[in-house]
């Protein structure tokens, strides 16, 4: 019988998420890392992260800050000589990190995404002001204070709506039913 290693299991988990399957194709050329505008802020570069995942270092990979610094600018994706959907792969790692409760405490990005999604889930649209205020209050009220000048300039120029756009009641219910069903089906894998 073929022996399955810890690394095999982790690679299978990643590969099951659309876009994650590319992890098997990497040749460690480093093009993604060289292209990434944020690689120098990451504790592990994108290509290192792939090598670590293939070595079975699940906890280290999923608790990394690297994928949370991905800007979804897709430069790595268009440059990868192996056609790996690098940005989707980063998203796959983010999803797994959340699922395993390992999303990095050293970056506020997971909390920001969570706040964004909560608003979209309940309203079907994103009220920018409410979302940003909520996120700052949740993570760093001091920063909310520092952002007052930016908020005021947006307000003065008519760009800060307090009121959210609402879907029809039927639309809101329809969307919630669809999203609840998606939740009950587990992830995309």
């Amino acid at each position: 019988m073929e022996k399955r290693t810890r690394a095999d299991t982790f690679i299978e988990e990643i590969s099951a998420i659309p876009g994650g399957e590319g992890i098997r194709l990497c040749i460690q050329c480093g093009t993604c890392t060289a292209s990434c505008p944020n690689a120098d802020r990451m504790d592990h570069t994108p290509s290192q992260l792939i090598a670590m995942a293939r070595a079975g270092m699940k906890e280290e990979v999923l608790s990394s800050n690297a994928m949370w610094h991905c800007l979804s600018c897709y430069l790595c994706t268009v440059r990868c000589p192996r056609g790996i959907k690098q940005t989707d792969l980063m998203h796959a790692l983010e999803c797994l990190a959340v699922r395993e409760g390992l999303s990095s405490g050293r970056t506020r990005t997971p909390a920001m995404y969570r706040s964004f999604n909560d608003f979209v889930y309940s309203l079907g649209s994103l009220p920018e002001f409410g979302f940003m205020t909520w996120f700052y209050m949740l993570t760093n009220p001091l920063r909310a204070f520092r952002m007052i000048p930016v908020a005021l300039s947006l307000l003065r120029h008519g760009r800060l709506s307090i009121k959210a756009r609402r879907l029809t009641p039927e639309g809101t219910n329809q969307l919630k039913a669809i999203l609840d069903k998606a939740e009950s089906l587990g992830g995309a894998s």
Binding site: A92, M112, N117, P149, I178, K181, A182
Partner: protein, 290 residues
Amino acid sequence: MRYYTYFPGCSSSEGGAKAYGWSTQAVSKVLDIELIELDDWNCCGSTPYSSIEELASFCLSARNLALAEKRGLDLVTPCSSCYVILNRTNSHLKEYPQLKAKVDEALAVGGLEYHGTVRVRHLLDVFVNDIGYDEIRAKVKINLGGLKVAPYYGCQMVRPRPSFDHPENPQSLDKLIASLGGEPVPFPLKSRCCGGSLIISEEALALELIRKIFDSALSNGAECLVTPCPLCQTNLDAYQSRVNHKFKANFNLPVLFFTQLMGVAFGLSDEDLGLKTCIVPAERVLAKYL
């Protein structure tokens, strides 16, 4: 008259980029385009949803696509993020059958189905390819002669899928500016990232990316920037004072939506274009054309 289904996205409808929505409608009218807003559309979920709730993110897009499919027209959005997310759903549903099965199951709960036939397009693509530069040039009432403009494409309109322009050295916006009489300046960072939504959670790194973009534009003689993306506009315009503060810099570069620049050249009024919503005032560089 050409007809399209219109997906404004949250920013350009009632969010911070309202002026993008206004100027889109005003310029489309001049070009004999009718944009019919999709009824009861929902947020595309943008990067936050696709980062941490992948199945739900595809379902958010799929509801919009299912609603649009009933109309049978191309779905046009002025927002680069909506554009990339809706297209991602389209291509992933074709590529991953097991994902499609789950999305279908979720849609069915809402009484919807999606067959994958909607073509999602960016507004800029419609303007330059369906209408064309010649027709745009023919509508110009005020030639923007002498105005040096940095065409800032950002990321998500040109990447990752092959679309209507080059993923790293796009040209459509350059040619559009030229057809209005303006001068597109060389701009090496034209499709580099502005920091996106990380401006909220990791401001320091985003401000540094924005500073590089301003440096590149300014060193090539730009008087203003134009962009086809609401988030890019907001980051470059609303956070310009934060960049100046952090780097002790002195940037004073207006950042316009490309539709606003077209509107100025078409002789449309300030009310139609919302120029006053620019935080770095645009009147200074546009005064001689208004």
